[in-house]
Point group: C2
Chain length 780, copies 2
Amino acid sequence: MQLSKDLHSEDGWRLRETGYNPERIVASGSNFLVGNGYMGYRGTTEESTCKDFVACIVSDTYDNADGKWRELCNVPNPLYVCASVDGTPVVPENGSILNFEKELDMKGAVFSRSMKWKNAHRELRIQSERFASMSDIHLLVSKYCIHALSDLELSLDIGVDANLWSLNGDHLPNKKIYQFEDMLIVEAFTSERDIPVIVCEGLLETSHDLDGFSLKTSETMITRNGSIFLSRGERLEFSRVAAVYSGNDVENPLEKGICDVRSAREREHQGLKDAHDSSWKKIWSVADIEIEGDHLAQVALRFNLYHNIIATPRHADHLPIGARGLSCQAYQGGAFWDQEVFNLPFFIFTEPEVARKLLVYRYRRLDAARKKARRLGYEGAFYPWISGDTDEELCPSHFFSDVLTGRRIRNHFNDWQIHVSPDIVYAIWQYYSATDDYRFIEKYGAEMVFEVARFLYSHAHFKKTKQRYEIIRVLGPDEYHENIDNSAYTNYFSAFSIRKALEILNMLQEHSPKKLQRLTRKINLSSEEISGWQEMAEMLFLPQPDLESRLIEQFDGYFSLEDTSPEKLSERLKDPNEYWGWPNGVAVETQVIKQADVVQLICMLPELFTPDVQKANYDYYEPRTHHRSSLSPSVHSIVASRLGYKKAAYEQFIDSVTVDLFDVGVHSSGGTFIGGIHTGACGAAWQMAVFGFAGLSVRGREINMDPAMPDHWKKLSFKLVFHGQLIEIELSQRSISAVADERNTERVALFLNGSELGVEPGMKKIATFSTGEESVVGKT
Amino acid sequence: MQLSKDLHSEDGWRLRETGYNPERIVASGSNFLVGNGYMGYRGTTEESTCKDFVACIVSDTYDNADGKWRELCNVPNPLYVCASVDGTPVVPENGSILNFEKELDMKGAVFSRSMKWKNAHRELRIQSERFASMSDIHLLVSKYCIHALSDLELSLDIGVDANLWSLNGDHLPNKKIYQFEDMLIVEAFTSERDIPVIVCEGLLETSHDLDGFSLKTSETMITRNGSIFLSRGERLEFSRVAAVYSGNDVENPLEKGICDVRSAREREHQGLKDAHDSSWKKIWSVADIEIEGDHLAQVALRFNLYHNIIATPRHADHLPIGARGLSCQAYQGGAFWDQEVFNLPFFIFTEPEVARKLLVYRYRRLDAARKKARRLGYEGAFYPWISGDTDEELCPSHFFSDVLTGRRIRNHFNDWQIHVSPDIVYAIWQYYSATDDYRFIEKYGAEMVFEVARFLYSHAHFKKTKQRYEIIRVLGPDEYHENIDNSAYTNYFSAFSIRKALEILNMLQEHSPKKLQRLTRKINLSSEEISGWQEMAEMLFLPQPDLESRLIEQFDGYFSLEDTSPEKLSERLKDPNEYWGWPNGVAVETQVIKQADVVQLICMLPELFTPDVQKANYDYYEPRTHHRSSLSPSVHSIVASRLGYKKAAYEQFIDSVTVDLFDVGVHSSGGTFIGGIHTGACGAAWQMAVFGFAGLSVRGREINMDPAMPDHWKKLSFKLVFHGQLIEIELSQRSISAVADERNTERVALFLNGSELGVEPGMKKIATFSTGEESVVGKT
């Protein structure tokens, strides 16, 4: 089925792009990425080079090459193949490309492409496929085939291309390029700390004998080079493996890489593929969401789940999810608040052990957050706005320029956008609520939550004349308005964080008093501080809904700003690429906002706001929202679902899930490359389906469902892990069924619109909406 | 003696400009202004028109014509004369101007000019003079003379030109222009509130019979028009008077104007002049400062004193001193902090009754300040940044544009530059210290000081983790850095204000408990509030000098900003007219400041800082100061005098007193006219002489002198009024003499470098510096 002009999917799993289109190169390379959370290999062809944005981005390789930007390394490309016919390289420039197709099989996480190439004399077909192994995360495995459609005098270069595309400086300036045994090796060292990064490539199976090939090396490339005659109809095929390691992964990456390639050879391509398949099968068995009645929604949703999965370093608990995942170097491979608020819920409810690792990552960055707080004059933990795996705040003070003046712009995301810290507390609590993982709280969560509470207390000011705490000079999620006071979003989540700190304190006091004692001693937590938190929890100013309009003011004075719309505002632009926000953008003195802010608050803490407040604020803020963050439509979709705005909820869902798929965004802003996969939006896709359309919410130890499925959908089904129990939910327009896995150990307290539908292990329950009737179907 | 290329003064009182130079027209018109605090008439010639920046700016005529800017009216010009010879108007365009001279006699406050005009056939000399009567402030009095240097067939237009130069809109769109009896009248009405403004002109004495002249009227002009034949050598002379009134001055301005002109005729030119002279004589008898040994310093200092006097509405207690006085409409005729900090001390120590009126003016604006505070969410009195005589904050949110983008700039002078309120408290206290005027405190001062304390308390935030009050998001005097916290200047003066509030509270409690009771009832002052002030007085954060460097940080984080110099910074400009400050100017992220800030603090509160601290901060901040406010050099000069930096003190003095005289400033910024007299700098001139070179300070009921006169000065003498006693101080390089007026009623406690030199009424005391010897010379 056709999804857009060049995108197709027949089975809902395989995404196919047809036609060779150089303009699509950035987006297509990202969309057809393969990866495993350790590395991401862009969906480019084997003959592509740095100009085509080829990249294999590897986690945990942070390097600062230009003295300004720390970012992940793009490592040498071990999948490089260049075929030549009669001395002419088989590339688009030298012939016609016909029947070009790329396919991403999301189920198996395999990229493949095929194309016919012909010039006046010769004709051939290239087919190739690759995967970044989910079971052996350091391995890239590929197959390559040339099918002679005419007699061919073929010359081949098969090797590693170390001429790298890099956004900010040469991260691997020192490279050793050599052959070892029959492997091709690039041993590189990062510019800043000289960390070794190795790529070790070896052939697996070949259809023809390539022993006669000779070694060809240059400063930036090493290949096996040789010639072969193929008669018309004949195929040349070979499969390869490459191991990628850095000195941050293992002590001796070179040794490990060589060893991995040797062992891969023993397992052969099929063995590697089977292991990879099996890992993905396990993931999808819980992660997948099925939609019936909307093919686009099905494919696009899976596309987002897939990218959320491959962006996530499930192998480690010291690495973040980058805002562009491992699809490129943009946004420095660092985690924003997106990680907790957008990416994480999917894992909390499908693979809580992965969610836990992401939260442990934040624990491992606690000292960095403490340092940042101290550097800026605060106490406790002020998490970086962009967080890598060093102690740094990756977010620079200046990262783009005023297009009208060329002057750099000082954005205060790094020092004023404090909500990332309470967002982490929110995520910790969400994780705990869904998993009941008390040990996590004891070991990691409590300390983080306490330190965030401490930070917020030290950030707040007490206003004596108003007898309230205030939070001054911040940015909420809406980045068009910096330097604001009492951001509704920030204040509510600060109050939330401090209350949770007190709640956890009581919890530990009751259940693990000794551990609490050790912790309070470790972090020097005094009873005066705790009294301060108690006071702040009660006296922090929380902007209340207006009695008449029911509106919550986004921040002090927001309603006094000029009331206009994004459309009208865009007419004031002198240059289409102008930044709309601080300090001088067209939106600054208006009510036009970049993305969901009060609506984001309502989305995340719906229990605090009555339906009329939710509705009034959605109705007010949505038309004033520019949606210039890929994180914005999803939040609106979820709230719209809850409000019964089915049309809007669906439209915003589609906007959100297709932002990368249909390449809606821009790839560069003020000269800065910002292409790549919007991993936050990918995470949000799951939330729109489950929190929005299925209407899932957690209250204490219960799950509630309040579905609002699009009218044309026949079925929406997904699995949930809750308190260690696995259940499968299937919604139709008329009924809901819940099947509890037979390995479950306890009843799951599932509520439908408030009435209980508890499911015992191995049982299935069905309820119909019209009658409210409930039936137990018995063992599955 | 020549002061500059075209400026001369022989006697130190008369300032003479030679040569006709159209490029000097803006500055020269301002410099040669005559005025009396009610109106200012620019130093233009009688034949000049609106294109030559003719203006007669009248106080208390605030009008908002363009819906954006409220400013004073420029009223119809009643001194217009145009002579024509053979039908050719005698203007520069039509002939040669020879021997052009303008003179300002600062002693008599009389403007005069003379010039020879000739064309191929005819030659004549025009001489004219004028004054704005200091005794009859609604009267402009002038003389005009044509001396025929060849036979002349002369045609004359003598009348009122109502075609007006105006900065922001037509303030007098409705005008009636007519003759009444033999007076020429323009009766106009302000655009916004229809306030009548009248100009009523009449001839006084004439050398020739002008009865045959006929009336000529147009929409914007009314003149007596006629012809006269003058033989070579013959002179035509006439004198005129014009009365100017607005409906804000008297109930029936027209009647009053007519009546004034009639009565002026009876007094004749000489009678009017005598009264005017006598008023000025009285003013100068106390106001003047004599310098021997430095003619430029003498003339320039008097020039500044003169302009400070004529800018000041001594006739009323409900009007401000405009930042450009009455020299033009720029800066809206409104008072800034300049009024209290720069203009006022001169009056406090020479004409305390005028100083009192200026402070009563602030009392009359107390409700406006209360309204502003409430509008911005505070309590008490937040004085406007620009204050006219309405309840408005005259300072608009946008008043200039980014020259690079054309986009308007939002400066936060109106809502963040809060120090004007504590500056008023400082002035109140300075006035009280110098006058002992307890009745003023009772009636006006206490209420203002309490309301400012209340405002500051409501503005401050308490930082629980630091156990201190902080003042967040302000601008200090240095306007390049907006949005700063804990401005040293602002915090110290806030503490000062609150302490003075408590001191006054105690004073009233002791001396006028009933009045205090009435006042606290009137303003609802509670004991809780007072406790709050007490706490804030003790716990407000005051940035302390660093133990090693002795530096006081201008605001939180200032020392972390890029350390560069104004010179280096100017190399970064893309356009020479760029604004350096907020939000995007080149200085914002650097330590380069616009004007004295910490040095201003040290200048005003020297008793709080030890000499090493004063020195360290002067040394540090001065090279980082751009001095882009005319208020900056004077402050540095005073502090330099105290530090013994004699050369710097003198250079900064000269820079400051010649800013207008030598036309150093710019007349327009971002398309906005900002020409005119820098009245703040004029007021500062007196302070540099008396507080700086003479080293005067008041401690309790004592005056201390710690002179640091420039080495080449032979004498510096001035008069002081202190606690109602008049003394004359004369400094030489070797001695000081103090003469107490014989009408004094008590001994003046004068100290020289700490040792007493008390002067009894009518006595003179002399002390020599070298020996410390003291001699009483006896009755003067």
